[in-house]
Symmetry: C3
Subunit: 207 residues, 3 copies
């Protein structure tokens, strides 16, 4: 199993958990859990592969969807054991982001894309699955949540991967650094309120 496949499997499982937790908030049945979990799990990677004109990863290997379905079933029967399903969802989502960004970076780098596209494929793979989940389930998208870093973490992680790759020429440390920076910035934003200044409407200047 390659590093990219391992990243893809892990991202699929962890994103599927977030999809299933969102389905639990919408009180769906078990097939609804599997549907939303699968959409979340493969959404970002599917857009990545369509953009890169590669075969879509889960079409080439349907076991990915088995992993997503298994995660959905586990959540269906165990979600009542956690104290706050929403906080659990947020932390799993942070973990999924931290795995999906390097998965996007690795796929784009393996396709021989230039650095700017590698950066973007990291952001796309990390952010779009969760965005689809939130749009379909009519939750406020996490990418738009005020006063929290989200897309910024994906950018920072992907940029770190590019820097480490340029410095060392080794893909593995680049992917590990990417995951670490993505997770650390996201976790810091959730735990300590790290944020960037947001746009504030001000009245037009008077002269």
């Amino acid at each position: 199993m390659t590093a990219l496949q391992l990243l893809d499997y892990t991202a699929v499982f962890v994103f599927a958990v977030t999809g299933a937790l969102t389905a639990s908030r919408a009180q769906l049945d078990i097939v609804g859990f599997v549907f939303i979990a699968s959409l979340t799990a493969v959404g970002g990677g599917t857009v990545r592969d369509l953009l890169l004109d590669r075969p879509v990863f889960w079409m080439a290997d349907p076991r990915y969807l088995g992993v997503a379905a298994a995660a959905a079933v586990i959540v269906f029967f165990t979600a009542h054991l956690v104290e706050s399903r929403y906080r659990t969802l947020l932390w799993f989502d942070a973990a999924a982001l931290a795995v999906a960004v390097p998965a996007g970076v690795a796929a784009a780098a393996a396709s021989g894309q230039p650095a700017s596209i590698v950066l973007l494929m990291g952001v796309v793979t990390g952010c779009l699955g969760g965005l689809m989940r939130d749009v379909v389930c009519n939750e406020v998208p996490l990418v738009l949540k005020q006063g929290e870093l989200y897309v910024t973490c994906a950018f920072a992680g992907a940029a770190t991967a590019l820097a480490v790759l340029a410095a060392t020429g080794q893909p593995l440390p680049a992917l590990i650094a990417c995951a670490a920076v993505t997770f650390a910035t996201r976790a810091g934003s959730m735990a300590f309120g790290w944020k960037l200044p947001v746009y504030k409407a001000r009245p037009p200047r008077q002269y």
Copy 2:
């Protein structure tokens, strides 16, 4: 005309009717009817064809969009004749699902895909057009409606197609059985309240 084309034409027409009925609820003009009807009608099949890396069916034969536009115009001038536009929409949607699932199954089988992908292409083709319609028009997606079967019906129909195909080796009975099972389970859910148990939040166990 092949069986797949006939299924695609029928699914396009019936889904276009549901899109136009949704447009009538949003009080759009006739071009808005055509836009939403076309999006609904070709959305699922477009995703199917992009995933399968086939030419998109309505790009290869734009008459599909003529069919969708005709359905939109008919609904624009006749929707006031039906007593409940929402109930009419639900029944047309059930019929469209029952035609689109075998259309997805037939397209994937014709591309020589493995059984798991054939199953999924049935679900994708059946569910995604209506999902796009509901997300764009800001209706609660039918796939998420509590206490009703929807994705389950698509799964059941596609699984039936695979079973009949494996047993008989004949595509035509497989597609007919697929449509019948999809429609019967969806209609049973609407008429008699058939459903699966939904997730219920319970307080965490106390020890």
Copy 3:
């Protein structure tokens, strides 16, 4: 630089401004501005290129995303200077539509597509970026706004392009006429209330 590239760059910049203005309404940070601006700017053209099975335009030339990011940063620091951000958004959106429709027409014509597909690619390229922006940011999609022309303007512009192309055989006047008709109809609708009759629910006829 070809006419198509010039149209694509202009559409990207102007749509990015509308995305950033929408981000300002959601009070996002600067990375959120860049994310929504980029999604809006390249959304329609990306769907166009996937449907036409061409390389996605901004993957082949990432400078497009630099343009979108620059627009987002400019708006982040200057949006407080305009009196009504929503009215500014509407007029930039009209300008973007008037550039994106000919961009879609030009791309489809360059791919040797038949007239009906050329027409549709104009509508798709013009309307889908803004639709994605509105769905993700949970605004009422402009394409669905009651009592205003929107998709109609894209249709009218694309049809004009086809008519001028058929009459003169020259692409440049066709693209200019397309932009002019799209903008004039959309501006007329916003300024003077031009509209088509909308669907009105009437009680079923009594016999």
